[in-house]
């Protein structure tokens, strides 16, 4: 939990850059593949050679329309592009084509769920299209910088929130919610480590009850959910301690240093940046026909919130389990496949969020790379349901499946793990245990009820965990009455 002083309130807005998963660039037909040799995917348009003109990628419009719908926002038509002027070698044109007055997506909101089960509405001011810059490399060039323009012109959509966020936890919940949406829509891979999703945080603090906003700072360079939480918390605490010791906050851009867990100011400029926005003369206003929007929206998949509700209704899972599963589309699909095989939604959900998640975390694997397939896990659960094995033995089988990749039934067969359900066999084990422990029997009979558990344990041990616990309980109860 956040520990900052109770008389202070944080006011946070996030700007999230999402790299759109197109084949080609926003305004050119060059490839957007990640990891190509430097400048092999930078064509004459990306290089801003004289005489070239940008031509808009239609797919990007579809992606933005879907995002706008998922964010409960208005889609602007016409929407127009603007030039944002700045000098830097990774932007050969001397400007970035972005959107200013008429962003494609405007006035939306997102309801986020917090850990205590409450939900909160975060306003989305706008989401606009823009092109990414190239990359500068500063090492190894003897006082010069090397420029790779492969990324220049890659389509981005920047999602700007209202300053409705009041804690690092809320910021992470909002970010995760956006991440889940873009993955569901398949408009981005959302890989923060590779920079497909980047987050800048505008943070200010004020005394609780105050209507005035404090001076804000913008923290850049935050590339994981955990770092977003840490960077914001650091910035809140820094600002409070500055103000409490009589200093003022400077409006500035700061960089997050994940190794030191601090933020530090970027070089302060003599004059505030003036980007001199003006309408992009090389591009006409974009009109989105009703038919285009309608056809695009028809391709919308089931969204996380809808899926969550369906899980609650169709599988009778709790709200909590449903939202955990629905947050990740691949996880949700995995769950449905497991349930399809096992016919038990509740057990399937428990196994996925328990054993399976633990193993995935241990090996740092995504659900798509799970060593146990959905079908295999479904079969394992089926074997618990039909009493072939106990839940406890199932955990051993699970471990063996994870390391060997063998099928469930093969492991049960090979290791002789079938549950003992033969009543006479269990009865003789119970008799043996009672006879071998006369002292405990005496104590039990004289009123020490707690010892019942001891007998159950001994019988389970005798059966090497293979006895059906329910049957053991029942038989023991009968025998001990005698």
């Amino acid at each position: 939990m956040t520990v900052f002083n109770e008389s202070w309130e944080a006011v946070i807005g996030l700007e999230i850059h999402v790299q759109l998963a197109t084949n080609s660039k926003l305004f050119s037909g060059a490839s957007t593949n990640f990891g190509a040799l430097p400048n092999t995917q930078a064509c004459n348009i990306d290089l801003a050679l004289p005489g070239v003109l940008p031509v808009l990628n239609e797919e990007v419009l579809k992606m933005a329309v879907k995002l706008g719908k998922a964010l409960n926002a208005n889609i602007n038509s016409p929407t127009s592009f603007a030039r944002k002027n700045y000098f830097y070698p990774d932007s050969p044109k001397g400007y970035q084509i972005s959107q200013m007055d008429k962003p494609i997506v405007e006035d939306g909101f997102l309801d986020i769920e917090l850990e205590d089960g409450t939900s909160k509405r975060i306003g989305v001011t706008r989401a606009h299209l823009e092109e990414d810059a190239g990359k500068s490399l500063h090492e190894d060039f003897e006082g010069q910088s090397g420029i790779d323009l492969n990324r220049a012109g890659t389509p981005l959509i920047e999602i700007v929130s209202e300053p409705d966020i009041n804690s690092p936890e809320e910021a992470v919940a909002y970010l995760k919610s956006i991440h889940s949406i873009i993955r569901y829509l398949e408009i981005s891979d959302g890989n923060m480590a590779e920079g497909s999703m980047r987050c800048d945080a505008n943070v200010s603090v004020r005394k609780i009850g105050s209507d005035e906003l404090g001076t804000r700072t913008e923290t850049k360079n935050v590339n994981s959910f955990r770092f977003v939480e840490k960077a914001i918390l650091y910035e809140i605490e820094r600002q409070i301690s500055e103000i409490e010791s009589g200093n003022t906050i400077t409006q500035e851009t700061r960089l997050y240093d994940s190794q030191a867990n601090t933020t530090r100011p970027m070089r302060t400029k003599e004059y505030a940046n003036d980007y001199r926005y003006f309408p992009e003369p090389d591009l006409l206003p974009v009109v989105l026909e009703d038919k285009f929007i309608k056809e695009t929206l028809e391709q919308m998949p089931e969204m996380p919130n809808e899926k969550k509700l369906r899980f609650v209704n169709e599988y009778e899972l709790s709200e909590y389990d449903s939202s955990l599963l629905a947050a990740d589309k691949d996880l949700a699909n995995f769950f449905e496949e497991v349930t399809d095989e096992s016919k038990s939604a509740k057990l399937s959900a428990n196994w996925i969020m328990g054993e399976l998640s633990a193993e995935l975390n241990k090996d740092n694997l995504h659900i798509l790379n799970s060593k146990i397939s959905a079908k295999q896990l479904g079969q394992l659960i089926k074997r618990i349901e039909d009493s072939t094995i106990s839940g406890k033995i199932a955990k051993d089988v699970f471990e063996k499946m994870w390391s060997s990749g063998d099928e469930v039934d093969a492991i049960i067969e090979k290791e002789g793990l079938q549950q003992v359900t033969d009543l006479s066999e269990i009865e003789s084990m119970v008799d043996r245990v009672i006879n071998e422990n006369p002292d405990q029997l005496k104590q039990y009979l004289s009123g020490k009820d707690r010892l019942f558990g001891f007998f159950v344990g001994q019988v389970m041990k005798e059966s090497q965990g293979k006895a059906n616990p329910a049957q053991v309980n029942e038989i023991l109860k009968e025998k001990l009455k005698e």
Binding site: S31, P38, L56, Q144, G146, I147, V286
Partner: protein
């Protein structure tokens, strides 16, 4: 509308133009005339007029999302002043560091 020396300096900085002190009075006079003209334009009644971001009454055509550009790095770098390992070399510029 009067322009201060400070404002003129800022405009020159943003435009990356070096101007010497001697030309200040003349430049200020010219810029002030331009600003006055904009002030006059601002008086025009435009409430009923739809905003226009482009003089042509057309909408932007689009292209399908296909890779159509082949790698032409060698050719494109022929005219570059300095290249190493496929990278364009430029004077060192670092933003974001102290």
């Amino acid at each position: 509308m009067a322009l201060s020396d400070k404002e003129l300096n800022e405009i020159a900085y943003l435009a990356r133009i070096n101007i010497d002190k001697d030309s200040f009075p003349a430049l200020k006079g010219e810029l002030e005339q331009i600003l006055d003209l904009f002030e006059k334009l601002n008086l025009a009644e435009t409430d009923e007029v739809e905003a226009m971001s482009h003089p042509l009454n057309l909408s932007q055509p689009t292209r399908p999302d296909e890779v159509t550009e082949e790698d032409q790095r060698e050719k494109l770098q022929e005219t570059a002043p300095s290249v190493q390992s496929g990278l364009f070399l430029v004077p060192k510029v670092i933003e974001g560091e102290n």
